[in-house]
């Protein structure tokens, strides 16, 4: 039997029973569609979260006070007896390959300007913040490079805070009172949006030393160091460790690199995508049982046909592949239909709920199709073996 003949036989069997075949295909396609749809959502969220993180750049090393770390936040951030100081951040500038060092402290305060008042977040930062975190200014300029321990009382407004306090007026040069202290506004940031629960637009940026005074604190909450692209991260981390241990007498700080954060995030999100794919494949399993059942029935119905083929000299192998082929073709068509359903479904979902990011990588689609074919193969094996084992005489005799 030639290959074209086998194909023709397999496909004619499918076409003869159009309704039956299309229902089987529908079963498989629902399974594949749900897998594709769910992994698209998983992958979309994965990319979204990674993009949120990498928008600050990947060459950032964070240093926080305190060594003991639970859930990623060290209690030392809130209070400690060995503060991380602005002088520490000045010293860190000497680390080779360090491009920018940003001390930061964050808190909540009441702001008054233009006869309006608002409670919001205050970030005490260093002058290099825009370049370290790739933030952009919409007007004016950022905090100047003053002596870090005697910075002038300048403030830069976040986009939303400017809207709330000044609406359409130009705030540059105006005064703003933050927790009773007066600052002069010298710039406005571009809108940045919410990042992981922090609204970066409803904020005001002031020099870190001023913020420490404002909040009556000694210790910074974090120092971020951005290094040159392509330099050895390990060496830099070691240099930071050495320098700070020399300054503090012991290791009472925690260093987290952006890369570590990304790795941990990536792992968590991969598990998530895998879990939703597993949820979707329950339907796929049921679809596989469907193929198995239908193929068993088909073989029962075509027993005499198989007998005839065997009597005409078809080998067991050929019968085996004939039915296996039918199962695979059914599954492959179902898989392809499912791919299209799943992809279109994901796109529709994205249009309906724009906040939900979706992404369907080509490799996932190919994988899903491959899984469909494997399901066809696995669920076709039993019926095909059954067909191949039939004795031609008995098979011919059955009616």
């Amino acid at each position: 039997m030639r290959i074209t003949d086998s194909l023709k036989l397999s496909s004619s069997a499918i076409f003869r029973q159009k309704l039956r075949a299309s229902l089987t295909i529908l079963g498989i396609s629902i399974g594949i569609a749900s897998v594709v749809l769910l992994t698209s959502i998983g992958e979309g969220i994965h990319r979204f979260v990674l993009a949120e993180f990498t928008q600050f750049g990947t060459t950032i090393i964070g240093i926080t006070p305190g060594k003991e770390s639970t859930l990623g936040v060290s209690p030392g951030v809130f209070a400690n007896e060995r503060p991380l100081t602005i002088n520490d951040s000045i010293a860190l500038k000497r680390i080779p390959h360090a491009l920018a060092v940003v001390p930061s402290v964050m808190g909540n305060a009441e702001m008054k300007a233009n006869n309006r008042s608002r409670r919001s977040t205050v970030y005490g930062v260093g002058p290099q913040m825009p370049e370290a975190f790739s933030f952009k200014l919409s007007t004016g300029r950022f905090l100047p490079d003053d002596d870090s321990n005697a910075s002038r009382a300048f403030a830069v407004l976040g986009h939303k805070l400017k809207q709330e306090l000044f609406a359409e007026k130009n705030p540059l040069g105006q005064k703003i009172r933050i927790g009773g202290n007066s600052f002069r506004i010298i710039g406005i940031m571009e809108p940045k949006g919410q990042i992981l629960g922090f609204d970066l637009d409803d904020t005001v940026y002031i020099p870190a030393s001023r913020a420490l005074n404002l909040f009556n604190r000694e210790s910074l909450m974090e120092i971020d160091l951005m290094y040159e692209q392509g330099s050895d991260e390990k060496k830099i981390v070691n240099a930071i460790k050495k320098l700070l241990i020399a300054r503090h007498g012991r290791e009472d700080f925690t260093i987290t690199t952006q890369q570590q954060m990304l790795d941990v995030m990536g792992n968590v999100l991969n598990v998530l995508t895998f879990a939703v794919a597993a949820l979707g494949s329950i339907s796929l399993l049921v679809g596989g049982v469907g193929i198995l059942t239908i193929m068993l029935i088909a073989i029962q119905e075509r027993t005499s046909e198989i007998g005839l083929l065997r009597a005409l000299g078809a080998r067991r192998n050929q019968i085996l592949w004939l039915f296996l082929g039918e199962a695979i073709v059914l599954a492959a068509i179902g898989g392809f239909a499912g791919l299209i359903f799943g992809y279109v479904g994901a796109q529709v979902l994205h249009v309906a709920i724009p906040a939900l990011p979706v992404h369907t990588p080509v490799i996932y689609m190919l994988l899903a199709e491959a899984i469909a074919i494997i399901i066809g193969l696995v669920s076709g094996v039993l019926p095909a073996l059954k067909a191949a084992k039939m004795r031609p005489i008995e098979a011919l005799r059955t009616e």
């Binding site: 060594k67 400690n80 009556n216 329950i282």
Partner: protein, 401 residues
């Protein structure tokens, strides 16, 4: 046709094709079992999280310094504000008759050492009432002594792990522990295991609030925990707290109050939604099983065409034929759902054996609805084949062979 005839007719078809029937049952059972197992897991997770939260205390209000007007609620989290919450603020809250207990919290990290051993540990500065508010218990010694909040004393209560790591075999009670540059006498060891959301109780050191303020050189409190006498009085107490703080803070409302109930409610909602979603996804597999039922029924109808023709020739109405095949589909669905029920409950028991901490018994609503959905699937997907059988022309059906 009597019901017993109907059932016999249906069973005959089911028994005749044992393998086929078994496979359909398996398909339905997979769907039902996965719904039951997944809702069990979801419910288990929900119960676990809610249990963790309620173990933090009951009728709790948490007062945080600072207030944010937009969704950026995270900015209050850091605790740094221009006007701190102080111990005097905390004492003033005791005045309300509905306030049962109060615990100020100062939070930070410091190095603790005894002889040659040292480690960094989270330090909680609080008061004697913390023990009752958080439902902690002691393994040894006693908790912080009651008294004025503003009274400093050099005593500490340590978590179990801290005791093991720093004191090893020695009895820590009565020993002097060095925290930062000060000395504290250990007066008790906490027995409680488990976590308080973000901190392991075994890993903390508790000292009087004022001592912690001195240690960290700050007048500020991180939070104030307020336990009300009853659940109903929470709103009243909330108003009282806001008013008191306003009058103490020059008329400015610069605090945020979170009630434990609101927090619990939010988590409850999120986790219930999650459970519903995953069981919904599992229910898709029942649709696939339904399609299989339909396919098998169509095949049965075509294989039993002569039989149907005979029944019709003997005077069976279209309605009766339809009932016969619907019975077939529903019987399959019920049998499959029952099988799935046992598989699902068995799976839940098995998972419970693996993770005894997880109470993952499936809720009744999920078991009932999985069963109902399976039967509906049988009804919906059996309808088309049944109609097809009923519409057969008796003469043509009889000469079919």
């Amino acid at each position: 046709m009597s019901i017993s005839d109907l059932l016999r007719f249906s069973f005959a078809a089911i028994i005749r094709h044992r393998l086929r029937t078994a496979l359909v049952l398996i398909a339905i059972a997979i769907g039902v079992a996965s719904i039951i197992i997944l809702t069990g897991l979801g419910e288990g997770a929900r119960r676990f999280v809610l249990g963790e939260f309620s173990s933090l205390g009951t009728n709790l209000l948490i007062v945080l310094p600072g207030k944010s007007e937009t969704g950026g609620a995270m900015s209050v989290f850091s605790g740094a504000t221009t006007r701190d919450l102080t111990l005097q603020d905390a004492s003033s809250l005791k005045r309300h008759p509905q306030v049962r207990r109060i615990a100020p919290i100062v939070f930070g990290a410091a190095e603790a050492s005894w002889q040659q051993r040292s480690r960094e540990a989270p330090i909680i500065g609080s008061s004697s009432e913390m023990l009752s508010i958080r439902h902690w218990s002691l393994a040894q010694g006693r908790f912080l002594p009651p008294g004025e909040l503003t009274q400093a004393s050099a005593v500490c209560v340590i978590g179990k792990k801290i005791a093991e790591e720093l004191f090893a075999q020695t009895n820590p009670v009565g020993k002097n522990l060095r925290i930062g540059d000060r000395r504290f006498r250990v007066i008790g060891v906490l027995a409680s295991s488990g976590r308080t959301i973000d901190l392991d109780v075994q890993n903390i050191i508790i000292i009087p609030a004022v001592s912690a303020q001195n240690l960290f050189n700050t007048p500020a409190l991180f939070r104030i925990l307020v336990e009300t006498r009853t659940r109903d009085s929470q709103e009243k107490v909330k108003k009282f707290i806001i008013n008191t703080m306003k009058s103490r803070h020059q008329g400015e409302e610069d605090i945020t109050i979170i009630s434990q109930d609101a927090l619990l409610g939010t988590f409850d909602k999120i986790l219930t939604a999650l459970t519903l979603t995953i069981s919904g996804i599992a229910a898709i597999s029942l649709t696939v099983a339904g399609i299989l039922i339909m396919n098998i029924m169509l095949i049965t109808v075509s294989q039993r065409t002569t039989e149907i023709g005979l029944l019709k020739a003997l005077g069976a109405s279209r309605y009766q034929i339809q009932i016969i095949f619907m019975t077939d589909a529903v019987l399959l669905a019920i049998a499959g759902a029952t099988l799935g029920l046992f598989l699902g409950q068995g799976g839940n028991l098995f998972i419970h054996q693996l993770f005894p901490a997880l109470d993952n018994s499936a809720p009744t609503w999920s078991v009932v609805s999985a069963f109902l959905v399976a039967i509906c699937t049988g009804l919906i997907f059996g309808a088309m084949p049944a109609r097809r059988a009923a519409n057969l022309n008796p003469v043509q059906a009889l000469v079919h062979h």
